[in-house]
Every structure is written in structure tokens, then in C-alpha cells.
């Protein structure tokens, strides 16, 4: 990857921190995400000056101000399109998008699906707090049916987008999920997202203490986390539970959570995770697991398929054309076009 070639000089997380005072509410999940991004960049060892962080508008979109990189806090919903321009303009940059569920799935939905479809090599960190934070508490396209908020006083009457499903619907090649409080997994998936060539979507389940406190509690709280989530790792068995005593098996078309040694299930029955298959059927099932169906919520890198990115293909096409046609100055080009005549 152009942007992350190994340098001998090493950066520390603090080298990615800007001097600006961070201004989220005390206790907001955004703090953890910011810290994880600092760490992930340090691990990737990418030059701060070769990094660009683009955001839209929303609490989450304030993130670029807190990065000692090039940063652009733009307008609501457009970060993916701006990032496409940045990356195609200069493919050597490591380009990140910080965005909220409203920013990228409500107003920015179109740019989101098109950036994913084109497979532009950008890393989209989607802060999913299932609420519009900055505008003080309206429901978002990821809020569950029936959710009561300032703009849905009687509860919504619409099903939410599930970010993984929409990403796959747009032919996404990379999808990962993490919880704000689980910094280890978060750093891991951010690093993987950066290494993946093409559009990477990282959904972070983020807590908004003010307007949607505890929305992810069922899975983020220590009490239940081990039983209610599973962290998927490439090539490893799909195990979970406090003692890794549970696993996922296939039953017909469906996934099932079992306890090893019970109901006749052994470790051998447990599926092994492969994020790299082109076919996304299983990835989709994994990504949509829900505790309402007695299945743990999947964390980690769920899908990661390498295909040429839009920006690299674009460069390749330019190179091919330029190789075929001898280099000309602009005037030479005009002179060589058809319909030229001379007045002497």
C-alpha cells in the first residue's frame, strides 16, 4: 500500500494528536474511537502528513480537528464523495472518513453506497450511535422500529438500515464491526481496514451518553458481552462465551449458537471464519446475527476481499493510455487533431 510502506522511523499514537481541545460530552464513546484511531495509525506507521481525515457533520464528524494530520470537516453527508476526490487525486495518501449513522446513511446514503460500489481505497469509520447526536436527539436510519425520539414521539414506523447489509448490497469488499469500549478489537479492525485495498467500512457501536445512553448495553456491558458477542478472526474457529465454551454451527441455511459438548456438538462442528471468500452469503449471515435470535453479535473483520480499487485502476488506465500515446504538449496535441488548417 503506497500510503503505509514501512518506514524506519516510528510514530507514536501521540504524534497523531492535534493541539485542539477535544469537545465531546464527558463519557461519549467518541473519545475511545479517537484514541483507537491514533493507535491504529501508529501501528500502521503512516506519516501524519500523508494522512487525510475527512468528515461530514455530526458529533462524530468533529474527529478531524483532533488529528495531527491533514483534515477536512466538510458538510453533512458528503465525506465519502470528498474522500473519493482526495484519494483519486492523490492515491499515495492514507484516506479516512469519520462519519455518523445520520451523516452517511441518511443524507449521505448515496455517496456511501457509490463509494463502496466503486471500491475507492478509503477507510470509513461509521460511528453508529443510532441517533442524531449533534442536533440533539432525533432518530436515525439505524434506529430500531418503534424507537421513541424527539422526532418520533410515538415511535418510528420504519425498519432501520443494517450497515453491513447495505454495504453488501452495494458490493462492499470490507466490513468490520467493533464496540467503542472494546479498544483492542477496534484498533485491530482499523489496521485491517487500512491494509485492505478498496473501500473499508468499520462500524463502531458507539454510545451517546446524552441522547441514547445505553443503546448498545446488551452487548457492550461486561455482564453480557462474552455471551452476547463473538469476535471473528480470520482462520479461527467461531467461539465465544466467557470460557470460549460456545460456538457457531451451520444448520441448514442458518447459523446456530451451541455449547460445545452439549446436544452432541463438538469443537469440530464449529465453523472456521474466512473473511476472504468472494461469496458473501455467510458473511451476511454473520453480520446480521442478533441476540433477539439467540445469536451473538459479530465483531471483528467480517468480510475482507481484495479486488483492485477504483483509484488504482484509474491510475493504471492513465498509465496505459500514456504508454500507448507518445507524450505531447498541449499545442502539439491540438496541431495533431483532425480539422487543422494553416493560414500562411
Amino acid at each position: 500500500m503506497e500510503a503505509t510502506e514501512i518506514k524506519y522511523q516510528k510514530y507514536l499514537a501521540k504524534d497523531y494528536k492535534s493541539e485542539n481541545a477535544v469537545r465531546w460530552c464527558p463519557g461519549c464513546g467518541d473519545y475511545a474511537i479517537l484514541t483507537c484511531l491514533h493507535k491504529a495509525l501508529a501501528e500502521l506507521n503512516v506519516d501524519p502528513h500523508n494522512t487525510a481525515v475527512i468528515s461530514g457533520i455530526g458529533c462524530s464528524s468533529r474527529l478531524p480537528y483532533y488529528m495531527n494530520t491533514y483534515g477536512f470537516h466538510s458538510i453533512h453527508g458528503r465525506a465519502a464523495a470528498i474522500a473519493t476526490g482526495v484519494k483519486v487525486a492523490n492515491p499515495a495518501l492514507s484516506v479516512w472518513v469519520a462519519t455518523g449513522d445520520g451523516d452517511s446513511l441518511a443524507i449521505g446514503g448515496n455517496h456511501f453506497i457509490h463509494a463502496v460500489r466503486r471500491n475507492v481505497d478509503i477507510n470509513i469509520i461509521l460511528f453508529n450511535n443510532k441517533i442524531y447526536g449533534l442536533t440533539k436527539g432525533q432518530y436515525s436510519p439505524t434506529s430500531s422500529r418503534g424507537f421513541v425520539s424527539k422526532s418520533s414521539p410515538y415511535g418510528t414506523v420504519e425498519d432501520p438500515f443494517r450497515p453491513a447489509e447495505l454495504t453488501f448490497g452495494a458490493r462492499g469488499t470490507f466490513f468490520a464491526r467493533a464496540i467503542d469500549v472494546d479498544m483492542k478489537t477496534q484498533v485491530e479492525v482499523m489496521v485491517e481496514a487500512a491494509r485492505h485495498k478498496g473501500a473499508s467500512v468499520v462500524e463502531v457501536l458507539q454510545n451517546c451518553v446524552i441522547f441514547n445512553d445505553g443503546i448498545h448495553n446488551k452487548i457492550s456491558d461486561r455482564t453480557w458481552k462474552a455471551d452476547n458477542t463473538i469476535t471473528l478472526r480470520q482462520g479461527e474457529k467461531m467461539l465465544f462465551g466467557k470460557e470460549n465454551e460456545k460456538g457457531l454451527v451451520l444448520e441448514g441455511w442458518n447459523l446456530k449458537a451451541v455449547t460445545i459438548g452439549e446436544e452432541g456438538y463438538s469443537l469440530d462442528d464449529v465453523l472456521v471464519h474466512d473473511a476472504t471468500t468472494k461469496d458473501n452469503t455467510l458473511h451476511m449471515k454473520l453480520a446480521l446475527m442478533d441476540i433477539a435470535d439467540d445469536l451473538p453479535v459479530a465483531l471483528g473483520v467480517i468480510r475482507s476481499v481484495d479486488t483492485p480499487s477504483y483509484d488504482s485502476d484509474y491510475e493504471r488506465q492513465i498509465a496505459e493510455v500514456q504508454q500507448r500515446t507518445p507524450k505531447k504538449s498541449f499545442t502539439e496535441f491540438l496541431l495533431s487533431s483532425s480539422n487543422v488548417w494553416e493560414v500562411k
Binding site: S18, N20, D47, P48, H49, N50, T51, A52, I54, I57, P64, Y65, M67, N68, T69, Y70, G71, F72, H73, S74, I75, R78, A81, I82, A83, T84, G85, V86, K87, V88, A89, N90, A92, L93, N110, H111, H114, Y314, Q317, I318, V321, Q322, T325, K327, K328, S329, F330, T331, F333, L334, L335, S337, S338, N339, V340, W341, E342, V343, K344
Partner: protein, 621 residues
């Protein structure tokens, strides 16, 4: 060369090729204008497309026209009325009837003037000429269809393919009329169909037979001869406004040493700019067809941030969609060229027709006080100069620039002397590492050059100049977001002053015509050709009158106020309801001399109408 025909030497002549969308009229027209240019004439063209859908064959809605005006000199526009009309069917005759000059030649295809064709064009009788009261013209009926077929017998072409060559047979006749040597046309056809030799041969055959037919029967009409003129020495090509705009951007990128990036979305009549630039991968141009206009401009804003010469191209409805993002470009002070090829509005309006009704939108169509640069190109070839200048201003003054073009000049073409880039000014963007005179650590993204108020450009990838920009108001000095009241007022003023300052870097407004006139004609944008000729005609009529044409609208050239004050009557002519006139009145409230001449028909101005109207205005109504 016609021998025994009456040959008339004339200064200028206007020819319109007109027929069904499928009749190849655009090709006949283009070939004729190109070969006339090569022959040494001045040219101006006006392709007049039907609405964007193919209508039923032979219907009035399906008529497609291509008008060419050629002349020894002073060809400023494509002409009001035609001297020669080629009408491939009755619908073409009907649609163009009111544009025929007295005594003009109507060359028509007798094979397609049958009952069923007349019915399709909603004629009531069998005599379309009488029905249209065309007693003042010279109709020339030729069995174009059947003669083309017999001409191509044995060519190995299928019937359908043969019929497609009708346009060349007709063109052959026109070439005979205007005494054009066929060799140039032959060569152009060879280039055009390079990969299909059979088609080349057939087209040349039809063309030659048409020419010979004209020669042989020497019709009943007089033929014209337009002499080639002395033009400045050099190499020429012909170019339409859209291509010239694309070229202007390429030239500016080359001059500035930057990569050209275009984020765009197809829309009539601006699509050609995207299409032309998509071809130019040989110049490393990155032309992205994005998912919509908003992505078009925002990807370009991203590319500008990342250090490209960034542009986006569209037409009115697309510019409306870009409004919000334009404000972001104003606020972040990034260089960006926005091209609006105007078409008839409001809303979808008449997409293939041209007008000048987007000026207000360009000036004001954003929330908040968000000043930017607005320019307007005056002619097909001026699109090159204007696009180049727009890019230069955007890059050197770190601002979005809206360049207004319009459907008329975008599709119309003129002969163009191929430029030498050495003759063009340098473009020097204010790169922070070259222009900021202190330690990198002291730099903040909104520090400015004291004189120009331009901020410095720190491009991602440059070590030591990492920074953050955004759409929120920021502190004048530190660049950190701020909602301090006095700071906001100061920033509002600075953003305005920065744009106003640009007046110092653009040429003063020039005046043509009589130095001591009382009346000044004012125009802007794509109407220059028609206003120029109007000026000449008024002066031919003995009127004292002056004329000035604005390329720079925001800011206005520094001498504008003083200049306008000199005249007791200022006629502002525009294809809208008086947007520029109102703008001038707002800028210069003490100016009480403005008369408005407005026409919003989706068609080019008519010189004859303007001569009459202006004369009345000058005579005090």
C-alpha cells in the same frame, strides 16, 4: 467549379441544414462549416437540437437543424435568418419558414414531400409553400432520396445505409452552390469514418454526385461565392464552446504544473465537457463521472484540497444542487472552477435551448454571505480564454470561480487559431511552503497575504503543514473554530474584500464604438456575437453608439462604475428578465440610466430586432 451559372460575390451568407434527427444534418452542417473555415472564411455555427428524445420520424418535434454562417469577415454570430435552407422533409420547412430571408433558396427533397410526409408535418394541403405563404423564396426541388439510392447502386451497402448518405448528396449540392472544392470534404470524411472504408467511399460518391448534379442542371438559382480572407498567419482548427472550455482547463493545468481533476455528472448541454476530458487520459486528466452533481462538486473539492486544479461542469439544475457545497468551497477558500453551461429554465425547462437566466443563481445561490468570482464566456473560442482565466484566478486567489457559458456558444463553433502556451501568463498558486515567510510551525491555515488577503495552500503530503479546514466559522488568526461575534464580522468582511481585490488583477473594461456616444450598449456572456453585429449595423445606420461586453461580473472591472456613468443611456441587453441590469443598479445606486432589453425565448438574439429596439430606445422610446 460551376461554369455557366450566375455567380454572386457576397460578404456573408447563412445556411441551415434541417431534417429529421436521423437525417444526419449535424454532420452535413459541421462538414460544411469546417471546410469553409479551411477554405479561409470566418464561420459561426448554431446546432439547434430537438428536445432530447427522438420524436416520430417526420414530425415537427423531431426536426434537427444546423445553421452555419460564413463570410469574408465580421461573422460574429450564426445569423438571424437564412439565405439557404436545406429541408429534408416538410416538417423542416414548416419549422424554419419564419426564418427565411426574402429571396432565399429552399433546397428540398421532393421524394419526402409526399402526402404522407405532409400529413406528418400537419399540413392541410398538398402545397406546403403556398400554405406557409412562402411566395418570396426560390424553392429548388431535388429528388434527393432516389438519386442518392441510384448513386450508390452497386456500392454493396444495404438500403438503410444508402439512405443515410442523403445528407451528403444534399451537401454536395450546397458545395456546388458555394463553390467549395470537394477535396477538403473528402479528406474530412476519410478521417471521420477512418475505420469503415466502405462508408467513406459511399459518402464521397454521394457528395460528388450531388455536386455534379448541381453543376449539371445548374438549378434555377444563382450561386454564391464567398472569397477567402486574409487571417492572421498560423494554424487553425474549429472548436465549439464546450471543447474550448475543456481545453482551457487542460491548458491552465499544464501551465500551473498541476493535475486536472473534473468531478461531474452528465447534463445537457454541458455533458461534452465531461466527455472531452474523459478522453484526455493522455494528459493525465482525471475526469470522474460521479453519482450526481453534489458528488461531482464535492469530489472536486476533495481534489482541490488534495492539490489538483479541480473543476466541475454542469447546467442550471445541476448548479442548484451544488449550492450548498459551493458555500463550503467559499468558506474553506479552496480553488475550484465551476462551469455552468446555461440552458432554458426554470426547472427542467427546455434543456436543449439556451438563455442567460442563471446569473442570479451564480451570484446569490448560497446560504449566508458567500462571495465568489463570477465570469461569463463571450463566444465559442472565448470559452478557452475564459476557462484559462477562471482557473488562474481560482488557483492564485484560492476561491471558487463560477464560469457561465450557455448552450448557444457551447454547441456553436468558430475557427480558432491554435494557441501557443508560451503566450499565456504564468499561474502561481500560493503554495505555503513557497510563499509563507516564517517557520512552518507558525503557520495557520487562514493566515493571509496582507496585500491580496489570499490564504496559503498547504497540500496533503507536504511535511510540517498538517492542518484542518472546514465549513464552520474560524478565528481570523488561529484558524480554530470560533463563534466570536466580532471575529465573524471581520471574517465576513475579509472574504468579501478578498473577492473585491481581484478587480485589481483583471483587465479594465474596454469600450467599442463611438468614443463620444451618449448611449452605451452593455452585454455579457454568449450574446457578444449578436451585440457586436448590432453595434456595426447601428453605426452603419449613422447612430453614435458605444458597446461594452463584460467577461468579469464578480468582481466587476475596476473602471466599471466610472465607465457606466459616462453615458446618459445604458442599454443592458440580456436573455433573462434583467438580472445583470438589477445587479448593476444594486452595485451603483446612483446610476439611473439603465434601460433593459430582455428576451427569454430560448433562442439566440436577433440582430434585426435589436437594431430596431435600440434605435427606438435611443430616440427616447
Amino acid at each position: 467549379m460551376p461554369t455557366n451559372a450566375v455567380v454572386t460575390d457576397i460578404k456573408q451568407v447563412t445556411i441551415r441544414f434541417s431534417g429529421d434527427s436521423g437525417d444526419g444534418m449535424q454532420l452535413s452542417g459541421t462538414l460544411f462549416s469546417t471546410l469553409s473555415a479551411i477554405f479561409g472564411n470566418e464561420i459561426a455555427t448554431f446546432p439547434d437540437f430537438p428536445a432530447e428524445i427522438r420524436a416520430p420520424q417526420g414530425s415537427l418535434h423531431g426536426v434537427s437543424g444546423f445553421q452555419v454562417r460564413i463570410g469574408a469577415k465580421d461573422v460574429y454570430n450564426s445569423g438571424d435568418k437564412t439565405d439557404v435552407l436545406v429541408a429534408m422533409n416538410p416538417a423542416a420547412l414548416k419549422v424554419n419558414a419564419s426564418y427565411l430571408k426574402k429571396g432565399s433558396i429552399v433546397l428540398f427533397d421532393t421524394d419526402s414531400f409526399q402526402k404522407k410526409d405532409l400529413d406528418k408535418a400537419l399540413f392541410q394541403t398538398q402545397d406546403p409553400f403556398e400554405e406557409l405563404n412562402l411566395d418570396h423564396i426560390q424553392p429548388v426541388g431535388v429528388a434527393i432520396t432516389s438519386m442518392t439510392k441510384s448513386s450508390l447502386e452497386g456500392s454493396g451497402l444495404e438500403n438503410k445505409e444508402m439512405l443515410r448518405c442523403k445528407n451528403m448528396f444534399a451537401l454536395g449540392i450546397v458545395c456546388w452552390l458555394f463553390n467549395r472544392p470537394l477535396e477538403i470534404a473528402d479528406k474530412l470524411l476519410e478521417q471521420k469514418f477512418a475505420k469503415r472504408p466502405k462508408i467513406v467511399i459511399a459518402n464521397i460518391k454521394a457528395l460528388t454526385d450531388g455536386y455534379n448534379y448541381g453543376n449539371n442542371i445548374h438549378l434555377t438559382a444563382s450561386t454564391y461565392r464567398i472569397e477567402p480572407v486574409e487571417a492572421t498567419k498560423g494554424f487553425y482548427t474549429d472548436v465549439n464552446g464546450n471543447t474550448a472550455t475543456a481545453y482551457g482547463l487542460i491548458a491552465a493545468a499544464e501551465k500551473a504544473g498541476l493535475q486536472l481533476f473534473l468531478g461531474s455528472y452528465p447534463i445537457t448541454p454541458a455533458t461534452d465537457i465531461l466527455q472531452e476530458l474523459a478522453k484526455r487520459k493522455d494528459f493525465g486528466v482525471k475526469a470522474l463521472q460521479m453519482e450526481d452533481e453534489i458528488a461531482g462538486i464535492t469530489s472536486s473539492i476533495g481534489a482541490a484540497f488534495a492539490g489538483c486544479l479541480a473543476a466541475t461542469s454542469t447546467s442550471g439544475p445541476g448548479l442548484a444542487l451544488k449550492s450548498e457545497a459551493l458555500g463550503l468551497a467559499v468558506m474553506t477558500e479552496l480553488p475550484l472552477v465551476v462551469i455552468d453551461v446555461q440552458r432554458s429554465g426554470p426547472s427542467t425547462g427546455m434543456p436543449t435551448k439556451s438563455e442567460q437566466t442563471d446569473l442570479n443563481q451564480a451570484l446569490y445561490g448560497r446560504n449566508g454571505e458567500s462571495p465568489l468570482v463570477v465570469m461569463a464566456a463571450a463566444s465559442p473560442t472565448d470559452c478557452f480564454e475564459s476557462a484559462f482565466t477562471a482557473a488562474k484566478i481560482a488557483l492564485e486567489h484560492m476561491t471558487p470561480v463560477i464560469l457561465l457559458s450557455d448552450g448557444y456558444i457551447a454547441n456553436g463553433s468558430s475557427a480558432w487559431k491554435i494557441p501557443e502556451l508560451e503566450d499565456y501568463p504564468e499561474i502561481n498558486p500560493p503554495y505555503v511552503q513557497n510563499h509563507f515567510n516564517a517557520e512552518a510551525g507558525e503557520w495557520k491555515p487562514y493566515l493571509r497575504n496582507d496585500d491580496t488577503l489570499v490564504r496559503y495552500w498547504g497540500i496533503p503530503g507536504t511535511p510540517n503543514y498538517m492542518h484542518r479546514i472546514g465549513g464552520l466559522e474560524k478565528d481570523l488568526v488561529t484558524g480554530v473554530i470560533s463563534s466570536n461575534p466580532e471575529n465573524h464580522q471581520r471574517m465576513i468582511n475579509i472574504r468579501q474584500q478578498k473577492i473585491d481585490n481581484i478587480a485589481r488583477f483583471i483587465p479594465e473594461q474596454q469600450v467599442l464604438g463611438d468614443p463620444d456616444a451618449d448611449t452605451l450598449i452593455v452585454g455579457w456572456g454568449g450574446t457578444q456575437g449578436h451585440l457586436m453585429e448590432t453595434l456595426l449595423r447601428l453605426r452603419d445606420n449613422g447612430k453614435k453608439v458605444a458597446y461594452t461586453h463584460f467577461r468579469h461580473i464578480s468582481p466587476l472591472p475596476a473602471n466599471s462604475h466610472e465607465l457606466l456613468q459616462r453615458y446618459s443611456k445604458v442599454i443592458v441587453a440580456e436573455q433573462n428578465n434583467g438580472q445583470f441590469a438589477d445587479y448593476l443598479n444594486g452595485k451603483y445606486p446612483d446610476l439611473n440610466s439603465i434601460c433593459k432589453y430582455n428576451k427569454v425565448e430560448g433562442q439566440p438574439f436577433k440582430v434585426s430586432e435589436m437594431v430596431e429596439a435600440f434605435t427606438q430606445m435611443m430616440e427616447g422610446k
